[in-house]
């Protein structure tokens, strides 16, 4: 593959593949259209590695939201590690939005919500980016 030496500033030691900038806009638009077809156009990292605890937390969160409708017992905020806390939440039943948010934030599962000029809810962004079905999030709005 050929490389070109393109730089907006001084001559640089980094190279970029031939034609990269010619095709980048259409690649980005392709992703946007693809995400638009799925629903909300959230940010989806291409190569982000997801730790086991994040995957477990996202799956458990789905169960918690479903459990909101099925179980009506006292909710308890457990101490201990992420897995036991998530498990307890799954079976505890009625969990309000603020408690959920604080739990995720406290477990350091919420990615940095950096200002980008918009006013999107960082929790919703995170959940959507982890693939949570939007219909399950309706109660959080």
């Amino acid at each position: 593959m050929g490389v070109t030496d393109e730089n907006g500033g001084k001559k640089d030691v980094f190279r970029v593949p031939d034609g990269y900038f010619d095709h980048l806009p259409e690649r980005v638009m392709g992703r946007i259209r693809g995400e638009g077809a799925q629903g909300r156009g959230g940010v989806v990292p291409l190569r982000q590695k997801i730790s086991r605890s994040l995957v477990a937390a996202a799956a458990a969160l789905l169960l918690v939201i479903a459990g909101h409708y099925l179980l009506r017992t006292e909710s308890v905020v457990p101490e201990g590690g992420t897995d036991s806390a998530v498990t307890a939440y799954v079976w505890s039943g009625d969990v309000d939005e603020q408690t959920l948010y604080e739990f995720i934030e406290g477990e350091d599962l919420l990615p940095e919500a950096y200002a980008a000029g918009g006013g999107e809810d960082p929790l919703i962004d995170y959940l959507v980016s982890e693939g949570v079905d939007e219909s399950l999030l309706a109660e959080l709005y």
Partner: protein, 182 residues
């Protein structure tokens, strides 16, 4: 290439009928500058490509909320900077390495990247840059490689011009010391 001002592009974007066309024009206008900014942070082309795509998607999702308080380019630059730094933070976290360990890994990434074509001197400069604190490396890159003015950097990074000048000065001193070590 069509020539529009940033204000015109944002206005075109706000119209659903011309949104995609406007956004393509924005990407064509700023992709190179944003790419090189990101590339100097994350070093490898593949990572820069990922981060830049995510940056533009973030822009697409939030441009409706852009109120023009800062210039469009400054706003784009800020998003790209945050995306790149967040990427590094995630990568470091995924490796469970102390920062010095991850800096070593970045060095290896740089040297093994097929799109790095520096000679021995350039390689040493990049290694020196990797030993700087993150903010200093950022400031050095923006001043030295991207020719940004301190006032623009101040808006992008949310740091005073005085602090940026001090940061650049310290960065240059440290690089000089490293390069003189042989």
């Amino acid at each position: 290439m069509e020539k529009y001002t940033d204000k015109e592009l944002v206005s075109l974007f706000s119209d659903p009928g011309s949104r995609e066309h406007a956004f393509t024009l924005i990407m064509e206008k700023y992709q190179r500058r944003l790419y090189w900014h990101v590339r100097h942070i994350v070093l490898s082309h593949e990572d820069a490509d990922d981060v830049l795509q995510n940056t533009f998607i973030k822009v697409w999702n939030n441009l409706d909320g852009f109120r023009g308080g800062s210039g469009l380019f400054t706003w784009l630059y800020r998003i790209a900077t945050n995306e790149a730094l967040s990427f590094l933070k995630r990568e470091k976290g995924n490796r469970f390495l102390p920062w010095s360990g991850y800096e070593k890994q970045l060095e290896e990434t740089l040297l093994s990247d097929e799109y790095f074509a520096g000679d021995a001197v350039a390689e040493k400069l990049q290694r020196a840059l990797l030993r700087l604190p993150e903010k200093q490396r950022l400031v050095f890159n923006m001043k030295n490689f991207e020719n940004l003015k301190y006032e623009d950097m101040s808006e992008i990074l949310g740091t005073s011009v005085g602090a940026l000048k001090a940061s650049y000065h310290h960065a240059v001193r440290k690089i000089e010391q490293f390069l003189s070590q042989g």
